[in-house]
Symmetry: C2
Subunit: 400 residues, 2 copies
């Protein structure tokens, strides 16, 4: 008799994503993809990473290959604290953060540590898909705060906090996935003020903040919290090397108040014991060698050019049929179909038609935990060279 696996009840809250299904179509030859959520591997500093790995194996072979502390490899924690300080968060010591297996694990540890079934969590609408699923798996009921061209609507957020008393609020204030939005300084301050006023925990996820094209964005919530009494006690900040150096290292981190950090560390012990020391020691040597500023300058330049090319092509080729705010950083253009002149107004329908024309992107509806906007789409400009971007947008215009 076949065996029926006795799955846990929590699996009833999630499903395999629609986007995952779409990705299966990407194997079609000749497809130009704006669908990915990843950096361009052609930009990886392979030789810098190779040198770092070799140095780690030469100078610290034991620590590089042995079990390590659950909190993270100490030299890496120190390098990360220095990296954060270089971005204005000068109040962060190595002991204020733990290393996580990508920032995805920070989300998982937050879920494990904080969410009981039925707890409410506020997220942006739209937000990162794997966040939605991750928190739902722990039984969270998600409430969404709308996002406009200035980031999450803090006026709405405050009333949602007052109404729902959430376990925490999860925000990607800087060039978020998928919205690409940049939260203004004013709204950032408002978020921290309401954290203190309503005694609410705020989670700032910041994997894209270094990928700005022109001026640096406003300081992170973490950097701002130093000058606002009580804010640091109510703030978690997640960072990652994935978008700026290499996702394959799976090196992320979480800055949090000590009490939460201790519980997250305990949970991490039972999740994966610790993040690969081989990857951590490599990352630590890479950061110590000082190659990061040059690496960042390079990826900013390339992504800026691609973003500009895509924005211009969209305006030229689709005109009034598409509406978007030109991104100031990150990997994505988040757009809305207007249906002008009887053109396609549904993101999912356009995604299908686009595949037939030889271009792929991700429809926006799945990025909403609630009340999806079916007219939205996410276009990544990160991995296609500029000529392909122009051609891909032309194909998109034909599909629309």
């Amino acid at each position: 008799m076949p065996f029926t696996t006795p799955f846990a009840d929590r699996l009833n809250h999630v499903e395999t994503s629609a986007i995952r299904e779409l990705f299966k179509l990407l194997g079609k030859p000749g497809i130009i993809s704006f669908a990915g959520g990843f950096p361009d591997s052609a930009l990886f500093d392979v030789e810098g990473i190779r040198a770092a790995a070799n140095e780690a194996l030469t100078h610290e072979p034991g620590a590089t290959l042995q079990y390590g502390a659950t909190e993270g490899y100490q030299p890496l924690r120190e390098q990360i604290a220095g990296f954060m300080a270089s971005k204005g968060a000068s109040g962060v010591a190595a002991s204020d953060l733990i290393v996580t297996t990508g920032s995805q694990q920070a989300l998982d540890l937050l879920g494990k540590t904080l969410i009981s079934p039925g707890d409410k969590v506020i997220v942006e609408g739209p937000t990162f898909l794997a966040t939605i699923q991750c928190f739902r798996l722990y039984g969270a009921e998600l409430i969404t705060v709308p996002v406009d061209g200035q980031g999450a609507r803090t006026d709405v957020l405050e009333s949602l906090i007052a109404e729902h008393k959430p376990k925490f609020v999860y925000l990607i204030p800087t060039f978020g996935n998928p919205s690409g939005a940049l939260m203004t300084l004013e709204r950032r301050k408002a978020v921290l003020e309401m954290a203190v006023r309503h005694d609410t925990l705020i989670v700032e996820d910041d994997p894209y903040g270094d990928l700005y094209f022109g001026e640096a964005p406003p300081p992170s919530l973490l950097a701002l919290a130093d000058s606002m009494p009580g804010a640091r006690d109510r703030l978690v900040h997640c960072g990652s090397l994935s978008k700026v150096l290499s996702p394959g290292l799976r090196v992320g981190w979480m800055v949090a108040p000590q009490e939460l950090l201790a519980k997250a560390t305990m949970c991490k012990q039972f999740s994966d014991a610790h993040t690969s020391t081989f990857a951590q020691a490599t990352a630590a040597r890479y950061l110590a060698a000082g190659g990061m500023p040059a690496t960042l300058a390079k990826v900013r330049r390339v992504y800026a050019e691609r973003a500009g090319t895509m924005a211009q092509a969209l305006r030229q080729q689709l005109g009034g049929a598409i509406d978007f705010v030109e991104p100031q950083g990150g990997l994505f253009i988040w757009a809305r179909l207007t249906g002008e002149g009887g053109r396609v107004a549904d993101g999912a329908a356009l995604a299908k038609a686009a595949i037939d024309q030889g271009v792929a992107f991700v429809p926006g509806a799945p990025f909403y935990a609630r009340q999806p906007d079916a007219a939205t789409l996410r276009l990544s400009f990160a991995t296609a060279p500029v000529e392909q971007i122009v051609e891909g947008v032309a194909r998109l215009a034909r599909a629309c």
Copy 2:
């Protein structure tokens, strides 16, 4: 006002381990440690791993540093399938397994995928401490099956299964941590038979099976399951490179029926997206280069000598005050204090007295999910050279 973190209810089921506290004492100068649960880093094949990492970066820089499939890096899945086949599990295809961030993550994914609060899980008494905590965090009620010199008592196990109808049974049949016990072929077959008869899922954790000192142990449950109809559908097998190659890579794997593998993959997506491709590509190249048999031969030889030295010293120095089965593999001697002649009979008391004498080990009681045997202790012979083992046991005898 200070912030009170609103932790999830599940944290009430676990606590920071007593062993973790003990480890803080290990920094004392001159301490000889039998306390660790890790391999000797002096035995790591640093140059083999360096060559593998460099090859991966040269030939597959993109795949090595980019995001990868949640299921694992395909060439590594194939190498692992081949490694399993070389140990008698010839029915395992690459698609029958996923790569996990150490086998600790396999345990976490099993908890996430299978355990609802209140579900019963049968584990050995004693068993791996992080398993107890990991499953409890998901709300499992743990039932223990006793272990003797021939492994878990299958007669008791069958009645426990019938009585409790557990979600699954978790066993470390080969040189388990902490018992070091080796389950006989007869009992292995009995376990698989009762899996089919009672329609019960069995989880075989096998990180130590390659570390045998003389003859190879009986085939794994996974290898045996191929010739028993229905057994493979009711069996999960967890493996790891941590004890044989390097824990720092955090490369483990889980062989499971397809339905369970699909759900575990979905959960892994939200846990850490995927295991470090940098570590996976390095491991794949290492296995492909064929260095594993020589590496295994070396660690087996060294650990066999250390195990023999420790066993002899314990018999000579402690005589009837200590009782143990000499291990045929693994990293541990599991012993029981007899209290003969008025000597210390409590593991925790001896651990404290031993620190004063300059030797550390781990008392056995915390390894029991229920009904701890306070007279037990775990002694690792893996990391101390033979002269230190002799001296450490002499110190232990003085403390006892």
